[in-house]
Amino acid sequence: MNIQNQYIRNLITKGDRIRGRALDQYRDIVIEKNPIKNAEGSALVKIGKTEVMVGVKLDIGEPFADTPDEGILIAGAEFSPIASPEFELGPPGENAIELARVVDRGIRESKCIDMKKLCIKKGEKVWMVNIDIQPLSHDGNLIDAAGIAAIVALMNARLPKLEDDKVVYGEKTDTTLPVNDIPIPVTVAKINGKLFVDPDLEEEDSIDARLTITTKSNGNVCALQKGRTGSFSFEEIEEAIKISVRKGKEIREIVKSLKT
C-alpha cells in the first residue's frame, strides 16, 4: 500500500474524495451514439477520463441446438495498450474476460433483446449479435462505462440488408434491434466500510472490494458480481443494492434521452 492509496483511504473513511466528489456522485457522463459507421450500432461512453467504445456487429449464423429459434449474443473485451500503460498485448486476461462476462450477463439476463425475433429460419439461420468492448482510456470503472456503452450501441443498431440470406454490409435497413429494456450496471466500491460509486483509477487501486449490480427499468436486479479481495457484510449488500437502483435510474434517464 503506497502513500497515495493510504491518503485516498483516509479521505474516503471521512466521507471525502480526492476530486471532491460526493460518495454517490459519478463523474460527468458523456455518451456519443453511433460514432462508428461500419458497425451496425456503436457507442462511445465517457465517464470523466474513462472512455469506452462498444461496437455491435451483426452476422448470420447457425443457432445453438438447445435454442433453435433464438438469435445468439456474444460479448467480448480487448484491453489494448492504447487505453492504459498497464495493459499488455496478448489474449484477454482475467480482467478483460470478467468485464465482458459481466456486461454479457446484464444484457442477457435482463432479456432486453427479444432473441426470438432474431430468428431468420428455425434451426438454420439466426442473427448473431457481437458486442465488442474496446476501452480507449482506462481511468477507473470500466465495467459501468462498458455496460452503458453496450446497451446504447444495441439500442442504436440497425440490421444490415440481406440478399439471398447473405449479409450485405454497408447497407443498413431501417429495422432496429428488438431492444425493450435498459439494463444499467452500477459498481459500488468499498473502503473501510464506506460505500461509494464510480471510483476513478487512483481510487480503484485503493479499494477493498466492489459489487456490480445491474438493474432494469422496473427496478429488478438482473446481475451481480463481486470483485477484488475484500468482503461485504449483509447490511453493506443491502445498501449497495439501494444505491445501484437509484443511480441506475438516473443513468437510464440519460440513456433514454438519447434514443433515436
Partner: protein, 232 residues
C-alpha cells in the same frame, strides 16, 4: 408460498447430500473432496512455497493463485480441455472468495497455489470448488480467519430454493451463488444472473447463508475427523 415440489424430494431449504473429506490427495500439502449430490469437486493446495518467476514475488505478502478446471468427462457433453472464458472467470472469483480468509502478509515472497478440479458436474461446481479449496487450505495448515463456505440459491415458482440442481437451474428465476465466512459474517463471493426484485435478492442471500452455516458444520467435522486422530 407456492406448492413447488422438488424432483428429488428435498425441502426448499435443504442441501443435497453432503460428503466432505480432507487429505484425499497424497502429494498435495493439503487437499479435500466435497460432493453435493452429483457434483464432485477435489482441491489441492501447495505452499506457502517459493514463487517463481521471482519478479512476481511480493516482498510484503504471499500471493494466492487459484485454478478451476472441469474434467473433460465431468459433464454430459465432453468439456474441451484447456482454459475457457468461464473457467478463467471462476478461477478469479474463487481466488477473491478465498483471499479474505487468509493472512497472506505472514508469508512474504511466497505463493499459495490452489487447484480445483471438478470430477462430476450437476450445478453448483464453483461453490463446491470453494468449499473444497477452503478445506484444503485448512488441511495444509495455512492460518485462516475462518473457513470459507459457499452455496447457490434461487427462486422457483415463488419459492426460495437452496442448492439448485442442473434441472432446477433451467427453471429458476435466478441463480445466486455466494461464498461466506461464517466466523466473520462476511460475504466474499456474490454473483447472480436472473431477473428478480431487490427484496428477493436479500431473501435468497439469507437462505444461502443458512446453507453455508450447515456446510460449515460439515467442514468442521471433516477436519476434526482427520486431525483429532492424527493431531495431539
Amino acid at each position: 408460498m407456492s406448492n413447488f415440489k422438488r424432483a428429488d424430494g428435498r425441502a426448499a431449504d435443504e442441501l443435497r447430500p453432503v460428503t466432505m473429506k480432507v487429505g484425499v490427495l497424497k502429494k498435495a500439502d493439503g487437499s479435500a473432496m466435497v460432493s453435493l449430490g452429483d457434483t464432485v469437486a477435489v482441491a489441492a493446495v501447495y505452499g506457502p512455497r517459493e514463487l517463481y518467476p521471482k519478479h512476481l514475488q511480493n516482498n510484503e505478502r504471499a500471493i494466492l493463485q487459484c485454478n478451476y478446471t472441469m474434467a473433460p468427462f465431468s459433464t454430459k457433453e465432453r468439456v474441451r480441455p484447456g482454459p475457457s472464458r468461464r473457467s478463467v472467470e471462476i478461477s478469479k472469483v474463487t481466488r477473491e472468495a478465498l483471499e479474505p480468509a487468509l493472512f497472506l502478509e505472514e508469508f512474504p515472497r511466497s505463493t499459495i497455489d490452489v487447484y480445483v478440479v471438478i470430477l462430476q458436474a450437476n450445478a453448483g461446481t464453483r461453490t463446491a470448488g470453494i468449499n473444497a479449496a477452503s478445506l484444503a487450505l485448512a488441511d495444509a495448515g495455512i492460518p485462516m480467519r475462518g473457513l470459507v463456505t459457499a452455496i447457490a440459491a434461487g427462486k422457483i415458482e415463488d419459492t426460495y430454493v437452496l442448492d439448485l440442481t442442473g434441472d432446477e437451474e433451467e427453471i429458476t428465476a435466478c441463480d445466486l451463488p455466494i461464498a461466506y465466512i461464517p466466523r466473520e459474517k462476511k460475504f466474499t463471493l456474490i454473483q447472480m444472473d436472473g431477473d428478480i426484485p431487490p427484496e428477493d435478492v436479500k431473501n435468497i442471500i439469507k437462505l444461502a447463508v443458512k446453507g453455508c452455516e450447515t456446510l460449515h458444520e460439515h467442514q468442521r467435522k471433516a477436519l476434526l475427523g482427520k486431525w483429532s486422530k492424527e493431531g495431539s
